[in-house]
């Protein structure tokens, strides 16, 4: 029996527009772009130039500090341009795909006979090592420090999230191979949700022999890999753990060893209240979104297209590209055209709130299994204030951390106190729900990210 960890803190936000389990067939226009910003903490050094021919699996850019960490092109084709922004920052590297796809062959390997270093070398060579993240700092990791453990979360529980159980169907062997490869590097933990059939399936394939399974029973953010690390083996100063919060990365790794090729295909949920028929689609990392989004939503009023889920995703445009870790494309109303009178006092039955001065708690009683689904827009719905209410963050942060105090320490720039309060254990996404419920409307994820960046610079 796997270890079960029950979490009571957290919040499931029920939104309209969950994807149905059916696949949309998409005819790609063949335009791709890899966005270095998708790999947190990586300063890119571009290794291709416009006009170069690349195969799927060839590096497009490398991590400037650790040039051995390459980032592979998802397709074969011609590099169209390197798009740069202010101060020549690399925004993305565009590739026009060939009609006939060619992949670099890195050779099939039997993972069970490899050691940790060989696995790392194979991942580095194929340009998918950078998909693995690390704590502390919640950034794309590097091979200079070996991790104390590797944590994989196969539980996606953010609003409207892509169901990993549905994604992995038919690719279970790749998943187990990926896990086995990781387990050669360090002790690997796999966090799962409470779905018994998925657990049984994973176990049947022998995943429990290569990774320690833990079942997280609780509301969002139980699926956050940071939360899982905090409950299983919290990070102390000086330690490094590798984290894979996006389980599709394990599939990428598994496919590399099983086929010898870099295959960055992933299943994406097209979801959100504005989407006409929410469903799933298989896409490559970096694929342009315009084909997917064409006619998929009502364009007569202003919408927000999110590369990711509503809590941690980044707003994008119709002409954006699928993010490296993106498992959902969410479309919600932007809300900047809404005129709401006296919102502070009206009942606002249609809006969701955890606060019981609204009526969500009566509309969604705990004993009722069918939940009312809300339409949420992107409005902040209030002005930014100093931290007033206490305990708001703690209710949705299932970690042994005093969130308010940590945020205050970050705002104050007090590095010693940040360390003492456990900044090495958190990533911005752990504060996403706290940011959602915050009545003072502070930009917590931005604050945490900036704090982590400063600390990383100081400790470098």
């Amino acid at each position: 029996m796997a270890n079960v960890i029950k979490l009571s803190k957290g919040l499931d936000i029920h939104l309209q527009g969950a994807a149905e389990e059916k696949l949309i067939q998409l005819k790609s226009k063949g335009q791709f772009a890899l966005v270095p910003d998708d790999f947190e903490g990586v300063t890119p050094k571009v290794v291709v130039k416009a006009g170069d021919k690349v195969k799927a699996g060839d590096a497009l850019f490398v991590n400037k500090q650790y040039p051995e960490v390459k980032f592979a092109s998802p397709v074969s084709g011609t590099v169209r341009e390197v798009v740069r922004g202010e101060r020549r920052k690399v925004l993305c590297i565009r590739v026009d795909a060939d009609d006939r796809q060619e992949q670099v062959d890195y050779g099939k390997k039997d993972v069970s006979k490899m050691d940790g270093q060989a696995v790392i070398n194979a991942l580095l060579e194929a340009g998918i090592f950078g998909y693995i993240n690390q704590l502390p700092y919640a950034v794309s990791t590097n091979p200079s420090v070996m991790p104390k453990a590797i944590f994989v979360s196969a539980l996606r529980d953010k609003p409207l999230a892509c169901d990993f159980q549905y994604e992995v169907k038919g690719q279970e062997m790749d998943f187990v191979t990926g896990l086995m490869a990781l387990s050669k590097i360090a002790k690997t933990y796999l966090g799962l949700g409470i779905q018994p059939d998925f657990q049984a399936e994973i176990r049947k394939l022998g995943a429990d022999k290569v990774a320690e399974l833990t079942i997280f029973d609780g509301p969002c953010p139980a699926g956050n890999v940071g939360v899982q690390v905090n409950h299983l083996a919290p990070v102390n100063k000086g330690e490094v753990v590798w984290t894979i919060g996006d389980p599709t990365v394990v599939l990428f790794i598994g496919r590399l060893f099983n086929t010898g090729k870099v295959d960055l295909r992933r299943r994406v949920a097209l979801c959100g209240s504005e989407v006409k028929s929410p469903a799933y689609v298989d896409m490559l990392v970096g694929e342009e979104l315009s084909t997917l989004l064409a006619n998929s939503y009502d364009a007569s009023h202003s919408v927000r297209i999110i590369n990711g889920n509503v809590l941690t995703g980044r707003p994008t445009t119709k002409d954006g590209y699928l993010g490296a870790h993106t498992s959902e494309i969410t479309v919600i109303p932007e809300g900047d055209d809404a005129d709401e009178l006296l919102g502070w006092i009206l009942p606002r039955f249609s809006q969701f709130s955890v606060n019981r001065s609204y009526f969500s708690w009566l509309q969604n009683p705990w004993f009722c299994s069918k939940k009312k689904e809300y339409v949420a827009d992107a409005r902040i719905k209030g002005g930014e204030r100093h931290m007033i209410m206490s305990g708001e963050y703690d209710r949705v942060l299932p970690m042994d951390i005093y969130g308010e105090y940590l945020i205050k320490a970050i705002i104050a720039g007090d590095i010693d106190r940040q360390e003492a309060l456990g900044i090495y254990e958190v990533s911005p996404e752990d504060f996403a729900l706290a940011e959602f419920v915050d009545s003072s409307k502070l930009e917590l994820q931005r604050i945490v990210r900036e704090g982590l960046n400063i600390l990383r610079k100081e400790n470098a």
Binding site: L15, N236, K237, E239, R304, V310, L311, T312, G313, P315, I332, E334, G335, D336, A338, D339, L341, L342, W344, I345, R348, Q351, S353, N355, R356, S357, A376, D377, A378, R379, I380, K381, G382, G383, E384, R385, H386, I388, M389, S390, G391, D394, D400, Y402, E404, A420, G422, P428, A432, E435, F436, V437, D438, S439, S440, K441, E443, L444, Q445, R446
Partner: protein
């Protein structure tokens, strides 16, 4: 709705930089966000936000204070008619209207002075107006005697807003509860108008309503009687209903309880703080009764004076109370216990709640410090034990 939006859009240019009315920008912003939910959308982090904001929270507290305020108005009228001996002839409406007219100037003065300073400060600092004073502004008139002159009240409001809130950085940064600070200011600067037995009953008729009571008229609060060494001549029930002399909003425990229910159901006040204030108070009362230091039983202590009002509306102020859940239990307990200790052991202060909350505010950061420190040392130990 579109019309209101258009109206604001039309007015906006004159309030912007170089506009004629730029000096009132903060006031314009205040009214705009009051009327219409801001249409700003998130720029970073989460793409959706909870519908709650500090306006909603503060409004809920103000609504929770309404029963106590309305009852307070009625009671002010009731006391006047009672002591004039004309209660039997007066109608409910007459009594309420008299109380309303007696209390209204206090509320107006409190809001005009306090919000005026807040608006000016926001304008000066180029910030948005913060809603915190909406609550303080109604609590302050409710915790003073009806006999407190308006100019004193104005002075106290100005003192508390400036020296207790704004110089610390505004709502959310203050160490002491502004309402408590205002009352402390009055209590120590003008004790003759805050205690004694001449200030609790309105003594003049207003617009022909009410009665003018004779010079030299006195009426003591139950706590005043206890401090004089006599036992109160009222039953627990009478004190709970609250048709007795006392500060404007604190006499009726029942009206306060209605507000408490709203605060607890909405989760705006911490039930931990509120309950532990009562636990601390009851425990201390029992100890004093058992040791014979006072004749009052715990139920009398709970319904007398400002204990209930302080426990429900002031100890639970999230900014000045403990922020950690463990801290909230300790904080509440200390306030409850302290209030009764001051009542019983210090005859100079008939009511201990104000000082107890002030003391609680003072030590809250220390309590939190130790709670957080425990978490820190746990983390350090874990790091060392690897």
């Amino acid at each position: 709705m579109k019309a209101i939006r258009n109206l604001f859009d039309k007015m906006r240019p004159s309030f912007e930089e170089n506009g004629k009315l730029h000096a009132f920008r903060s006031v314009f912003d205040g009214f705009e966000t009051f009327a219409l939910v801001p249409n700003d959308t998130s720029k970073s982090g989460v793409n959706i936000h909870d519908a709650i904001d500090s306006k909603r929270i503060m409004s809920m507290v103000v609504i929770a204070l309404m029963p106590a305020m309305l009852f307070g108005m009625y009671n002010i009228g009731y006391q006047n008619y009672l002591y004039a001996g004309t209660l039997a002839e007066a109608s409910f409406l007459e009594i309420f209207c008299y109380g309303f007219l007696a209390v209204l100037p206090k509320i107006l003065v409190s809001y005009i002075v306090g919000l005026g300073i807040e608006f000016a400060w926001a304008q000066w600092k180029g910030e948005e107006i913060q809603e915190g004073y909406l609550v303080s502004g109604i609590i302050i008139p409710l915790i003073v005697p009806i006999g407190c002159p308006l100019w004193m009240l104005a002075l106290a409001c100005a003192f508390s807003v400036i020296f207790c809130k704004e110089i610390f950085g505004g709502t959310g940064m203050n160490i002491f509860n502004p309402a408590i600070a205002a009352r402390m200011f009055l209590f120590f600067a003008y004790p003759s108008k805050m205690t004694g037995d001449t200030v609790w009953v309105a003594q003049d008729s207003i617009f022909g309503l009410g009665n003018t009571l004779p010079d030299g008229f006195t009426a003591a609060t139950p706590l005043g009687q206890v401090a004089q060494g006599t036992s109160p001549d009222l039953s627990v029930m009478e004190m709970a209903i609250g048709l007795i002399p006392g500060s404007i909003g604190e006499t009726s425990v029942i009206a306060i309880a209605i507000g408490a229910c709203l605060l607890l159901v909405t989760g705006i006040a911490s039930w931990r703080t509120m309950c532990s204030v009562f636990v601390g108070g009851i425990l201390m009362s029992v100890v004093f009764k058992q040791t014979g230091m006072t004749e009052l039983c715990w139920c009398q202590q709970m319904v007398m004076g400002g204990f209930a009002f302080g426990a429900v509306f002031m100890a639970t102020d999230p900014v000045t109370s403990c922020r950690t859940t463990t801290g909230q239990y300790i904080y509440g307990f200390i306030i409850g216990a302290m209030a009764i200790i001051i009542r019983v052991m210090n005859a100079g202060y008939p009511e201990g709640m104000m000082l107890a909350i002030f003391f609680g505010n003072m030590i809250a950061p220390t309590i939190d410090h130790f709670v957080v420190e425990r978490n820190i040392s746990k983390r350090l130990k874990r790091g060392g034990a690897k």
